[in-house]
């Protein structure tokens, strides 16, 4: 329908039209997010520059700039000649190793700062959710926590955990906090989910979601906030420990 060529299927949202702000960055972010989240898979060929430009509604120059930025970040590689083009180099393909590599680059100070930012967003969202959630919101939080509890595969757990905290931000009735939560999940979610590796971590994550849901239902904002903040602070302290181990084993 219409004149716009649209991709259908699971990865279609990746190629949805963009708004007209700082286009190179938007294209870069959209593709980088899709690669980090595993929406575009390893070794997959990206559409041609012309097709990308058409789908995003931007010029080919913008697409070329974005692809250069992605190449510099090691998220794609470009092959020339017959069968050439841009191919995804997915860090998700070798999740733990790639993430450990990324963790090595974060200083404890940076990790602390990321934690402060995330705790501020997540804590505020949880507290406001407790003030503003109606029965529909609580129902969705309960369902999202149940999905997390039932998830067994690491990927499913990661998605379910991310979805739960987006529901919290949405229940806070704040579009900005919801977008901030989504952006933080894209940026540092994969790192945080490093600490969701084993079953004990999973049990703790589920317990926290349930505690927040209960606090939201009972309108206990301060408790909802403290559980949300604790989740981030715990993750950051584990990540800091791991970072220090990685650096120590280097020397």
């Amino acid at each position: 329908m219409g004149t716009r060529r649209s991709y259908r299927g699971p990865r279609s949202a990746v190629f949805a039209p963009l708004e007209s702000l700082s286009r190179t960055e938007l294209v870069t972010h959209r593709l980088a997010d899709a690669i980090m989240l595993g929406l575009l898979t390893d070794a997959e060929q990206l559409p041609s520059e012309t097709d990308l430009a058409m789908n995003f509604g931007v010029s080919t120059v913008t697409v070329r700039e974005a692809l250069t930025a992605l190449r510099q970040r090691g998220l794609i590689e470009t092959r020339r000649g017959r069968g050439g083009g841009s191919f995804v180099r997915s860090p998700a393909d070798d999740t733990t190793a790639a993430l450990r590599e990324r963790l090595r680059e974060f200083s404890p100070g940076t990790l602390r700062d990321i934690g402060d930012h995330y705790a501020a967003i997540s804590g505020a969202a949880a507290e406001l959710a407790a003030e503003r959630a109606d029965s529909d919101d609580v129902q969705r939080l309960t369902a999202a926590a149940a999905t997390l509890a039932a998830a067994t595969m690491p990927g499913d757990r990661r998605r379910a955990d991310g979805h739960y905290w987006i529901e919290v931000a949405a229940a806070a009735q704040s579009a900005r906090l919801t977008r901030a939560e989504m952006e933080l999940q894209t940026e540092v979610g994969p790192l945080l989910w490093l600490v969701l590796e084993d079953d004990a971590d999973h049990v703790l994550a589920v317990a926290r979601c349930r505690a927040v849901t209960t606090a939201v239902r009972e309108g206990d904002g301060p408790h909802a906030r403290s559980v949300a903040e604790e989740r981030i602070h715990d993750a950051v302290s584990i990540l800091t420990e791991r970072h220090l181990e990685l650096v120590r084993s280097d020397s």
């Binding site: 991709y7 503003r132 949405a170 009735q173 309108g219």
Partner: protein, 261 residues
Amino acid sequence: MDRPHSARCTTTSPGVPVGSGAELALGSVVTAVRSAVEAVFADVAALRRDAESVFARARSAGTPVERDDLAELYPALTAPLRTPGGLAKGAGFVAAPGVLADAPWWLEWWVREPAGEPSRLIVDVDPDGEHFYDYTTLPWYRDPQRTGRRNVTGPYVDYLCTDEYTLTFTESVRDGDTFLGVVGSDVDVGRFEAITLPTLRAVPCAATLINAHGRVIASNSPRRSGGSLVRDVDVAALWADPAADGSLVRCGDFPIGVLLA
């Protein structure tokens, strides 16, 4: 600080005095809300009629309905998204699972573009997809399916589609007793607030637009911030019997009312 709009209405039974300036001001709030909502619902109804005729015709012809058949909805669907200054920022048809022959799940949803033609919103409709979401559990779909009545969802953060604070107006699409999906329009809460606030400000006491949950859509009182829930008043009781003490005035045949408290 002088805050005239945080004053409470002293006459709560039966609301505001008949024929008073307050009553007239309240009347213009109701008129503003009703005309905005009815204009949106009129577009939704036009879309519903087109959708129902697509399915009815296919049934008499004995042919299945496919995604491409929805092209017939295009004029009714996109017209409100082209109107300059129009309220709707998105509109479409959301199919009940399995009613389209070539797409088990489908959202034919279009959004207004700041300049130019409306564009189709691309949503993950593959149940195995990373971003798939079962829309049949969401209030804008589930409620009109259950009740068969016109529905207002929100204000809510529409993280599924646009990540914006949204009011969604939906109606069910049926062929006889068969439920086929919903049609609807999205309205930005900020726009709705901007349209209704001047009339609210003219009411000489605290006046707040709320939905059925008691969620604030717009208010002339700083005590009632947009998106918050009214908790100091038994909103459910007022909706059950708005005439009871006159502190809730329904704006029309949809769940938006003016709370005078």
